[in-house]
Symmetry: D2
């Protein structure tokens, strides 16, 4: 470990993910934030956009071109899907590790990307080098990588809810259903009918039924894990809350199961994973709010012979910003928990 | 129809259901509220408990014994499970129709009641005469009945979400999963850790996983409908909202299905049911808030060959008070829509 | 009263006010909705915009020009400030009463309008004929009027909170402070940073400090009432709730006061006003939600010798749509309570 | 500063304040939590009560008697008013500093305590030694003290909103009005009608009008500051949000004022106070959520010649737990910012 701090840049700081990345990195003992960029707000102070940072992080927002010649250890891309790929391409030869928080390099091929995202991919070579940065599954690959595809929020919770089962190839084909619920920040900072308070408050609805992009991301990762082809029924819903994802996963085991055995499988799988907590009672999203934890509650329903697994995360953290910092820690050879010791904020 | 108004009593008016019953009945053109009772608040005005009724319904709260000698057409029991049965027994020989909003007479036998509710039943004879008052399925039986077991809130939404499928016996055994979400009023007016604002607001969790009492209520009704034995995986969750239930039902069809056919099955089934609206897009709970409507959205997922059906109701109305009024209308030979024309309150 | 129904048009139905007007008028026994217009959504069904109306009000949205030749008894303008005046001008010679829900004709002169609204007024003649439609103060003028300036939401609650005091000229000059709080629907249906769920949920802030347009509207009406010049300190805040305004008004009496006298002043003033309820305890916004009631709680603080008056309304109803219907009832010679008997929806 | 960590105990850990104290102290670099007590839950793990701490703080809850013989540097009392005083008395001769988060020692005399709290005080001697621990006003006294009366949540925000004005004796007697709004956690963790979700959600109300205990606490501190007798009109309201207080203070200056001068007065007063941020725009409660910051926005309304000052804090932190930690830092001679560097959590 070097003695001076690592220099990082956050590209695209107007959204929630950029803001949360800044919060975590500003408090990280080994990191110095060298640049924060925003094309539309360049010139303003970061804290003008995000007033909670007033007198804490008042750095000026810069144009992304400032990165071209900057000496950096890590570049975080907190950009929309379809935009990120251009910057990965642009900076591929810089001597800096890139952590892309968009969906641009999460899938297995440009073709699959195009069929679910509905647009051409402009940097197909990236697929060869990108590592899917879910540290609980991929820590070793992440350590060796220079380009991380940071997982989606729903996939993070979904995969962690059932990874122990698929890693042991215990689940009957076609039986996996993930009924997912997310706080509104998952929809981003952009003002729209979807994000209008009156459409969300005291309300609840499903959306993207049968067609949500995270479906394929979950399927690919679980397929890799189990060795077989996994199909998932994935249905997202919108919770009238700011942060948090809860997934309720249903699956039929291939073989005999009981409560004790089920819990043991989860505990064994997550034994050395400091940020996954195997719970003995049903978790709620506030149990992990503001933190990097994923709480998982596996349940065996003897009556129906079905496994129900419930997982919760903070979608902006474990599902985005803190996952990115976790990946950075691994890539830089730091303690994986460095800067991620926030205790959940409840109530 | 007689020219003077029908006299009704609301027994147990301190909770949400009693309050909503009062709201509907106070505005019903054919009804006069003769008595409202509350054991713990007798002597106070009804509007002292529920200030929204100030200067609208200021009737005094009375002890339930006032009912013994009152001449009434209909008695509504808005009492907790386990308490209601004693009053049904007490008033069984009165010349008044009884609509019981508790769970005491919803199941098929005292034995099943005891195994899911964990207490002995004190009026087993009631099971013979009680009709499960879901008007969309049982209007004819309701009209002839003197004792209505008003359906539970989750069962109302759950059954209506898939009734057309089970009525046609289209669903593969064991494939039905109902992932249900309810606003907090479903937990009742009693103050507890569960209902504390800070445990609900900006939060989301599952509860009663694998053991919720409404499971068996749903199973029994769907079994009756299909003619076979139906098993359901039912998981309730708590939405940080006052009112509303949304259920996401998953089921595998026994035979070939397509989108067009699926919608047709629903539209045919609900053709003459004025309070079920078959929607072409995903409904949200606010679309029916404050009203007697149930909105249902059936969806065929070709990729997974699974039916997803989403239904929403206001749990205090279609799932309780307005359902009771609907049953009353049928029992008294009134227009079934009488007093139930509230347009949903959104936003 | 004529035997057929009165024909009305709602101009501008895409917002909350238009939607709530439609809800009330669709249920009004003496009214037929002849036209609903929306420039941006003409051609769609009204219920496509507002799904709660599906199968209830499916009328087609039309262009406003349809009004030109339509025979109508009443035209409601639910349009933004600055747009409404053009339509008042356009339809001034139609044989139809106009109720304008915008701020365009609420103030006493074009000059004052221009100084607070920052734009020129295009129909200055309107100021001569427009009546400020607060029925509790102006019922007689409203009955004779053909053009109603329907009051703002904050002014409705603010004025009603202290009208009995100013009508009796009891308040010390310059002592009136109104600290007002509104649910988010007051900001309208337009998507913006202001209405983004994450900026509102679990949050609270002031806005428009010292400069809000409703200040002058309150001042003018209270000045008319008292006969003197009234200055108010008005500060609005944003509640993380959909509907409801609560105002906390502070004022110093000119003369001796006590609790008994204060309550009597309020009760006398509002004796024959069916929609103002003088409460003996602190009201909350949910006590009037979904209704036309204004609940007022006057309090004498002996220690500080100050009057505190708290008033609550539903901003979309008493502060907009139901106020307009109330005005319509008066203008048409109907019972003033007709179609306005909704009991507040709580919880 | 000693090299080993300071040992602290948290007495009364079942509430929000105890939980937040634990969160802060568990992350404080110079502190070791030696004991956490709860009379009603002794024997359980702390994280059983507060599941967000699972695998982070699993310390056993103990009976308070464990403190009698424990060697401790600091004892935090997170107990209800009226209970705390007995423990201060019990441990007054221990060689440990006591920080009392209740209201038991905040006022100037037992007599005033008794008149506002309605109960006798059992440890009158405490009044002589207790220091009112508002670090921005009392840092020097705090450093020398062994018993801190940690300020109330409303008084913290209220006093900080106007302290610069009263310190300079600029305010006209009797003109101060503080219209305060608090999130629900201010009502504590106890389940009651007040804290029931359905009474809070989508709702807003005032309470304690004219009689709230924090009134006298504010008056006494501002009187000390200005040298004169200060009377405040204080009205609290309940926001449907978990955390946060916003106060809107109104005051008339004795002398000429302008915007520039006003801001300067605030900036000068808070120059070396790292946790008070003088803002140039209206703050919202989420701007400080989860942090020790108080944001203050002073505004001069030229039209009405009145000062409006808006301040926001997190009531559980700056208004309770982090204030206590701040006091501890001062008492132990640590850097006053130690352990208090949390950046606000928004959204």
């Amino acid at each position: 470990m070097k003695t001076s701090k690592y220099k990082v840049a956050i590209v695209g700081a107007s959204g929630f993910t950029g803001s949360e990345l800044t919060r975590l990195l500003a408090g990280h003992p080994d990191i110095e934030i060298a640049h924060i960029t925003s094309e539309s707000h360049a010139g303003k102070a970061f804290s003008e956009l995000h007033p909670q940072f007033f007198q804490i992080v008042d750095l000026p927002l810069e144009k992304a071109t400032v990165i071209d010649d900057a000496e950096l250890d890590v570049i975080f891309l907190a950009l929309p899907h379809g935009v990120s790929m251009d910057f990965v391409k642009r900076w591929k030869n810089k001597n800096a590790k890139i952590i892309d928080l968009s969906g641009d390099f999460r899938l297995s091929s440009p073709k699959i990307y195009e069929s679910w995202y509905g647009k051409d991919h402009t940097f197909e070579e990236g697929f060869g080098s990108a590592v899917y940065g879910l540290p609980e599954l991929k820590a070793e690959e992440v350590k060796e990588s220079n380009l991380i595809a940071n997982p989606g929020c729903y996939p993070t919770a979904s995969i962690l809810s059932v990874a122990p089962l698929f890693a042991a190839d215990l689940i009957e084909e076609g039986s996996l259903i993930i009924d997912a619920k997310s706080g509104l920040t998952g929809a981003g900072i952009k003002a729209s009918a979807t994000t209008h308070f009156s459409n969300v408050n005291d309300n609840f609805k499903a959306y993207g039924v049968g067609v949500h992009r995270h479906t394929v991301e979950i399927e690919e990762q679980l397929s890799n894990l189990s060795g077989g082809k996994v199909r998932v029924q994935f249905t997202p819903h919108l919770i009238p809350a700011d942060r948090g994802i809860l997934v309720t996963a249903y699956a039929k085991p291939r073989q005999e199961m009981d409560s004790h055995k089920l819990v043991e499988i989860y505990q064994d799988f997550y034994r050395d994973k400091p940020f996954v907590r195997v719970r003995k009672n049903v978790p709620s999203i506030k149990d992990v709010r503001g933190s990097h934890y994923c709480d998982v509650f596996p349940f065996w329903d003897k009556r129906t012979e079905r496994i129900i697994s419930i997982a919760v995360i903070d979608n902006l953290l474990k599902g985005a910003a803190s996952e990115a910092v976790h990946n950075m820690n691994l890539m830089l050879g730091l303690n994986e928990q460095s800067g991620l010791n926030q205790i959940p904020l409840r109530p």
